[in-house]
Each structure stands twice: as structure tokens, then as C-alpha cells.
Symmetry: C2
Subunit: 301 residues, 2 copies
Amino acid sequence: MSEVLRLGLVQMRMRTDPEANLHAALDGIREAAAQGAEVICLPELFRSPYFCKTESAEPFALAEPVPGPTTERLASVTAALDVVVIASLFERRARGLFHNTAAVLDGAAGYVGKYRKMHIPDDPLYYEKFYFAPGDLGFRTWKTSKGTLGVLICWDQWYPEAARLTALQGAEVLFYPTAIGWHPSEKAEFGTAQREAWVTMQRAHAIANGCYVVAVNRTGFEPVMLDDLDAEREGRGIEFWGSSFVVAPDGTVLAQAPENEAAVLVAEVPLGAIDEQRTGWPFLRDRRVDAYEGLSARFLD
Amino acid sequence: MSEVLRLGLVQMRMRTDPEANLHAALDGIREAAAQGAEVICLPELFRSPYFCKTESAEPFALAEPVPGPTTERLASVTAALDVVVIASLFERRARGLFHNTAAVLDGAAGYVGKYRKMHIPDDPLYYEKFYFAPGDLGFRTWKTSKGTLGVLICWDQWYPEAARLTALQGAEVLFYPTAIGWHPSEKAEFGTAQREAWVTMQRAHAIANGCYVVAVNRTGFEPVMLDDLDAEREGRGIEFWGSSFVVAPDGTVLAQAPENEAAVLVAEVPLGAIDEQRTGWPFLRDRRVDAYEGLSARFLD
């Protein structure tokens, strides 16, 4: 099979101004498309610094309807370039009700749907449960003009259930817009193992499901408080680790962006490799679907 | 927490004679115990060459009840050494009904239960569906005198569902007796990616579930036909890749055996690392158990 898909990853370093980030994203999309990318993914919550480092009412002002102003501006670009874009946005669903959402835009059709992050973290500097209601649209896959694509978001990446449920809908590629980095105080001792765990999990999703996996992260240090000029020197913030990557169905990392720079990465992937992997190692055939009901329990004690 | 568990892995090169393999296994258990191991795991189907390379009636003569003669002989050793042993056996359940089964033996108590392989492969040279009925005991974890242990077998290792369902029962360590190797004709092109996929999947089980994972493989070349003296030179068989390993809850490979030799590996692991990993990265907390019912479908088309 000679069918190929060209995947574009836009790894960004965020600025404070949402408009500047949108411009950088649009530039990244254009650059990826110029390199041949047909499906282009942006990092999680690409319009702003990662605001979940504190719990504050202020960031809610950043939220917007989905579809809404940002998807409209992206749609004019997807139409002009004939590309699919996966865009992670802070969704305002109703007064006081918000989601961490990814929109899918497909060429001239523009906005075609959204996924609302199902697994919401809450950890030091990642206080997402304060901002986002858990998704209620389930796990989703879209048949776009470029391929059948599944979309998940960041913390979802740690859940084999999420990857499986998306792949079972026919996704040829799983996309994970992401915002993950180091606590500077932990980096020396745990940094390598943490980033390697992140890559390992997503390689495993590719292997277990015999599909491609794409993770698109942000990069750069972001302080907890924007006006804290000593934050970086004294480690009060998150050092996002970039390293966005593409994994093949056999678990091989095909391409990886650098750690510390904004980057546009384009990878051409043969879709026939999905058939080859799944027929060579036919895991989907042998799933014991009669014996998995316990997966719906919190714990089996 | 200072609680530790000492894990023993007995990587074996099989001989034709089942009695010789049992002796080698007993020697390996004694050696592991002498090095301090408290829980010791043998490779899959350790009493014989891997007979599933062909479909033939002859190997059924190797099968035995579980518990049965082999568990009796192992029990005298577990009692004498006060160790837990996980032993993979060819189980004869009834006339013409067989399973790929792992027995758990616990010190003086001897045989305490068994797991019947749930996911059965069927691929060139791994014709297991001919020999083994799929397991019907579900996924299992035992509270042994040494720790809470989950047991799975080889092909199960590719299924995140299996690891999860075992871990949800409280397993601190997931053990995978295994028989995996290269088709010699594929080794040059795919060998590295295949073995790396195998390690990656099990590292991911450790990360996703925040527990230890142990894989115990056999090593050495085994011909398809025992009387084929040119088999190894001409590549008619399986080159089992050894490389048995222990993974920590953060996904780090703590210890790994060589590729080409029988080996006894002992790793001392702190159980407190399970708490640390699960509280630092609290994946079990955020599982969307309301949204996983689709996992019981073959495919969501």
C-alpha cells in the first residue's frame, strides 16, 4: 500500500498575549503546510500560558465558545491550505461551566467537531480540576478528508483505556495536544525518567493498538506568577519539555522535536504500516471482550 | 517505607527432556533463593521445548493436571526454602481439553491457585490456539506470604486490559512467564523494534498501573523439528531472545538478563515506590469508569 499521510506538529513557546500565540500558531500551520503537512496539531491550550499553575478566577476570561472566534480564524486557514487542524482550546460552555476541549477543523468544511478532555489532572501546578469539568462527549474519532483521526488531550495519554476506545473507532492516528514539563526542583533527580515514561506510554498505545500516535507539547519555562522576575532562576514555575514526537504502529519513534525550541515537525507516514502491524501482531483479534467488564470498576477490592 | 521484596527471575534454555528442565528449574529456584529471592518466576512452559511451533498431537502427552506432579515437586522446594514460585505449565484439564496455565506455590502451603492464559496467540510458529483453550478463570491476583502478586502469561503482555484488571485487584507485581523470540528471517530487519516493543509495552503497564512488572523469558534457538540438524544454520525455528527484566513503577528497567544465556536474576525492590508513584502521578484516581463500557466491544464501528 502506498497511501501516505503527512503529519504536522507545531511545538510552541507561549507568550502572554493570546493574539500573539494565535499568530504564532497560524504561522506554524502555514509552515507545516508548506512542508506538505495535511493534518496539523497544535499544543494544548495554545492561546495562552498554561494558566492552571494556580487557582484563580482571572483565567476564565480567556475561555471562549467552541466553535467560536478561534475556530473561525483557524477555519479560514484550513480552507485556504486544504489541511486538517487539531486545536486545543479553553471552552466556555455556559456561565461558570468550562472544558478543556480540542476542536477539529477540516479544510473548506472548517469546524467539524470537538473532543472534551475526559481525564482531568489535579497535581501541584496542574490544578485542572478547578478549571475544567470532565468531558461528557466520550472518546471520539473523525473521518476527515485526510484520514480517520482520534483526538485525546494530555492527561488522557496515561490511560490505555482512552487510547483503546479511540482506536476501536477506527482512528489511524491518535493525537495528543499536551502541556507537560518538569518542576525545576525535580528535574535533576526524576526528569529523565519522567520524560521517558511519557514517551514510553505513547509508544505503548501505538503498539497495543497498531496505529500512529502523535504528541504535541509546548516548550519553555513559564513562571507561576507572570510578574515574578526571579521565577526561572529560583524554579517557581514549569519547564515545559517540548520533545513532541510521532510514533509508528510498531512503537518506533519516527521523529522528535527538540526540548527547548519552538519547532515545526512534518512526518510522512505510510498507512499500510497499520495493516502490516495489525496482521503481523494481531492483538485486536484476540481481545477477551467477554472478560473486561471489571474495567468499569474503580478498584477490584 | 522500608518494606522490600526480592524478586527472582529464572531465565532458562530448554532441553528436550522434561525431567532435565525440571531439574534446571529447581536449581534456578535454589540459586535465586540463595541470593535472597522471595518470589521466583520461571519461564512459560518451562518443562519442554516450545512445542507450539507446529500443530501435532504428540505434545499433548506432555500435559498434566494442575495441581499435579510438577506442582508437587515444586512444593517441596518452596516449603524447604520458604519462597513463592510462579510456574507455567501445560495443563490437562480433561480428556482433550488443555490450558496454558501458571501455578502459584507459596512456601509451606505449596499450591495455592492457578491462572489460565486468557489471550491465546496464533501466528506462524506460535500455534497456541491449537493446543490451549482460552482461560476461564479471569484475571487473578494472590495475597501470598511475600506480597500481593498478579500472574499473566506471554501474549497477555500486549493487552493493557489484562495488566489493568490484575493491578486493580491489588497486585504489587505483575509476573509474565514468557516464550518470545525472533523468526531468524526477520531478525535483521525487525528484531530490534520487536524486542523493544516487548519491553516498551511492559514498561507502560508498570507506569499506567504504578506497580512492578517482571517478564521471564526462555533463551536459545529451538528448531521447528527436533531432528532437523540444519535448522539453526538455515533458520527453521525460533531464536528466543532471553532479556528477562524487572520494571519499576516509574517505568525504569531495574535489571535485565542477557540475550543468549540461561541466567538467574535477583532484584530487591522497595514496595514504597508503588505508593510514591501512585500519589505523585495519581492515574488510578482519575479513571473515567463511567465511560469505559465500550472496552467490552470487539470494535466500535
